[in-house]
Symmetry: C2
Subunit: 497 residues, 2 copies
């Protein structure tokens, strides 16, 4: 592959690299570390428009890998992609009462177009339920037309005051699934099926373990009957909501009058779901795995799983040619998709400098190839997960590298899983919880009486919110940690992004 231009450091910059280029350690300043990782890996950049970001090629490559994996899973579960208009008449939002209340304040509003003032303002979609139900009204007549299982890959816009690259930006890229069904149970089944797809994707591709569950009413999607979510633990022990799947019931069907004629001739409202994940996942990926050297990309989401560093003395032209030829040959042997294996043949930089740069960029495996390796027909293989370097024979290297990549993928997941286990606690005493949350952070399984008041008070006093009523926690009788009233089960509290 051609090296990403505009992404490389010139020789001069290289000289001062220890000072200029190191990533702030997590322990020193976690927020700064996060931004440093993004900037050094050239994943994204601030844009001239407040609250928006530019996703640079290295960041977009991760998104492309995520999209490909998710899209395949959506298609395997019977969904098809479509595209609906970006601009939505403002009045559409008002057709679902909670929806407009939730989204209207966040909308970017187009008031002029083609040189004149519009009769009705248009909003840049914050989400597409309203536009899509308007179309479903046209398309649904009979029970034979159901279910409709559509997904859209799109940009959306929600005005945000406090933004953070990938995690919260005014514009973001996402997918939004929108399905309508004849029966309530089918819609619920779909909602849970897609939640499971998100969990599988997060764990198997992102190597990020997640808990699943349902949100409390206060955290529901505006217009949903129930919002289900996947929640991940970041390295600062905060929670991050990584995806949501909404059971919409008949709320939008009623707002937009989407009815079908059942087999018995009766006209009935459809039952709906919607579900989405966004470029926020890239933020989750960074915060889950990266380290003080920079980005760590799980191999299954790495557009460039391997970088080869040829090592030679500049003066010995003959040897240089030999080493480079061997590096290109090796690249061709390891290549699975055009451009996936990088040979860093840039001149005027030391191998050590290159090592650091590719570590910052999160490439899972580095192969070092010098004259002595050539003699022995072997290479030195370094892993981004920090496990020891090893010398491997050229013979059968492709297979060996595949196994190493799998091992890295597995190791990242297991490490994250162990970290979450270590940092998940129970408490039955409010002051103890409050104190330990402050010092240790983490996920807390607490009894809660299901009242909004207790939820709110706990949030105000501790900054922890209920992440979800989690599927993996069994029912157990207890007392609300706040008010002492009876509780049927523990729920997961945590500080969150």
């Amino acid at each position: 592959m051609q090296l990403a231009k505009g992404n490389t450091l010139s020789k001069k910059q290289g000289k001062g690299r220890n000072k200029e280029l190191a990533v702030t350690p997590r322990a020193e300043d976690y927020s700064k570390w996060y931004i440093d990782v993004i900037m050094k890996a050239e994943l994204a950049d601030y844009s001239p428009v407040k609250g928006c970001m530019v996703i640079r090629p290295n960041g977009y490559a991760i998104w492309e890998k995520m999209k490909a994996a998710l899209d395949r899973m959506f298609k395997e579960t019977g969904h098809r992609n479509a595209y609906f208009p970006l601009l939505i008449p403002q009045s559409f939002l008002t057709k679902e009462a909670e929806h407009v209340e939730g989204f209207a304040p966040q909308c970017a509003v187009v008031t002029h177009g083609g040189g004149s003032k519009l009769e009705e303002p248009l909003v840049v979609r914050p989400t597409s339920e309203t536009m899509i139900y308007e179309m479903y009204k046209k398309w649904v007549r009979s029970y034979r037309d159901l279910p409709i299982l559509i997904n859209q890959w799109a940009n959306v816009y929600r005005w945000e005051m406090r933004t953070r690259l990938f995690l919260r930006t005014s514009e973001f890229l996402w997918q939004e699934g929108h399905t309508v069904h004849a029966a309530e149970n089918e819609a619920l089944e779909e909602t849970l099926k897609m939640l499971q797809v998100y969990k599988t994707f997060s764990e198997e591709f992102m190597a990020v373990p997640v808990i699943t569950g349902v949100k409390t009413p206060s955290e529901r999607f505006p217009g949903a009957v129930d919002t289900y979510c996947i929640e991940a633990m970041m390295q600062d022990k905060k929670a991050l909501q990584a995806g949501t799947s909404h059971m919409l019931g008949q709320n939008f069907a009623k707002g937009f009058d989407v009815k079908y004629q059942a087999e018995d001739g009766e006209w009935k409202y459809v039952w709906g779901t919607s579900w989405g994940v966004s470029t926020r996942l890239i933020g989750a990926l960074i915060m889950a795995h990266s380290d003080d050297k920079g980005l760590v990309i799980p191999p299954r989401l790495a557009a460039n799983p391997v970088v080869i560093i040829p090592i030679y003395k500049k003066k010995d032209e003959e040897l240089k040619t030999k080493v480079l030829d061997a590096a290109y040959k090796l690249r061709d042997e390891l290549t699975k998709e055009p451009g996936d294996i990088i040979v860093d043949d840039r001149e005027g930089m030391s191998p050590g400098f290159k090592y650091s740069e590719w570590e910052q960029k999160g490439i899972p495996v580095r192969i070092e190839l010098g004259p002595r390796d050539l003699e022995k027909s072997s290479v030195m293989v370094a892993r981004r997960d920090g496990k020891p370097k090893e010398i491997l024979p050229m013979e059968g290297l492709s297979k060996a590298i595949d196994l190493i990549l799998e091992d890295i993928q597995k190791g990242l997941f297991e490490k994250a899983l162990a970290f979450r286990a270590e940092n998940t606690h129970k408490a039955d005493d409010y002051s103890e919880f409050k104190e330990k949350l402050e010092t240790d952070g983490g996920f807390w399984h607490l009894h809660w009486c299901e009242s909004d008041d207790c939820e709110k008070q706990i949030q105000e006093e501790t900054k922890a919110t209920i992440r979800c009523i989690a599927d993996h926690i069994e029912d157990s009788d207890g007392c609300c940690i706040k008010c002492g009233k009876p509780s049927k089960r523990r729920v997961v509290f945590a500080k969150s992004y």
Copy 2:
């Protein structure tokens, strides 16, 4: 695959199909035929927002195939994808004088966001040169940073008064490549390279032959030094501009002050290119190949290359099971990507009804499978290109179908090429040209003196425009067909979309 729900016709609708469902013949009303083809194949629908369309799953599937093929070609030529913000400060447009003049009147303008009036209005991107050069200014320092070869897949918005599904809509999906280079010749080389990529894609995937060439100054992209294009002939003998590649020179570099330090230490402006194709290509595809039965999709862009129709009598349950089992087995044998082969096992519709429906939807190959076929271990294969049905043995069918699909692909291209040849003419007499253009349409190779005036007058009097100064026409001395002044070569005139 699960049959596209909401895309099928209920039994009741089926009864009146001859009247309701036939496509208007091309000879009767070409414009109505075009819309009918789209509606019957469920490629797109009108949206509640003026000038915008909804791309339905069948249409989006074609776009996905186009994207995959183009994206691969872009990556093979060294480009990487990125994503830039949707909303652009209005003032950015004014930094390139021709650019703002060309695009400002077409902009959708966001004046309010997050509940308040904005200090500076933002426009929904009509194209992204301005935003991207603002970022390139940040990223480019040294000659080592060049070239930057970036592509973006995105939606754009250009307010249009007269719209037509796919061909001209206010919002459309496209890709926009934006590259900057150290030297003028490199930028020109890139411009022409991407033009060639478009030609290859159009001919090899869309089966649509195109001519390449450069636009006259009046048809240039606002802000470009030169605009190159691919132009295709539609079945009504009009031209359609299917893609453009712009040599931007240093226009945007100067507007946005994008400079690099050359090896000799001097600071120089970069040289730029931009190039794009859009969902308009789907319109071109339809108009190039479809017929009075409905849509025709070239096999290389068909998400579903084959539909299998099982044929049985409803009452004989045993036979029905046998036929269906054989159909599913055949589907599994032919499957290359999940869901690509359809078995139309819907109940309550005659085979003939199904044949018509899949013909309308453009599926390249139909396999009919009944009890007698089972006995003989053969199937009936019908081709969407109208060539005769044939009986083929089950044994080795997958290979045989691949050959048929290739043959259809090749045949569509050759037919379109022959059609263009038949309808491309020369003229040296203005009245003769005018008259024949009116009766016969087509592409006309005419001598032209290179003056804006003659170009404009010809357009006013004939509605034909110069599609391009075409690469394939050799220099030859002659006289301008309009004014009689000397001309060095013929250029291509045609009426166009």
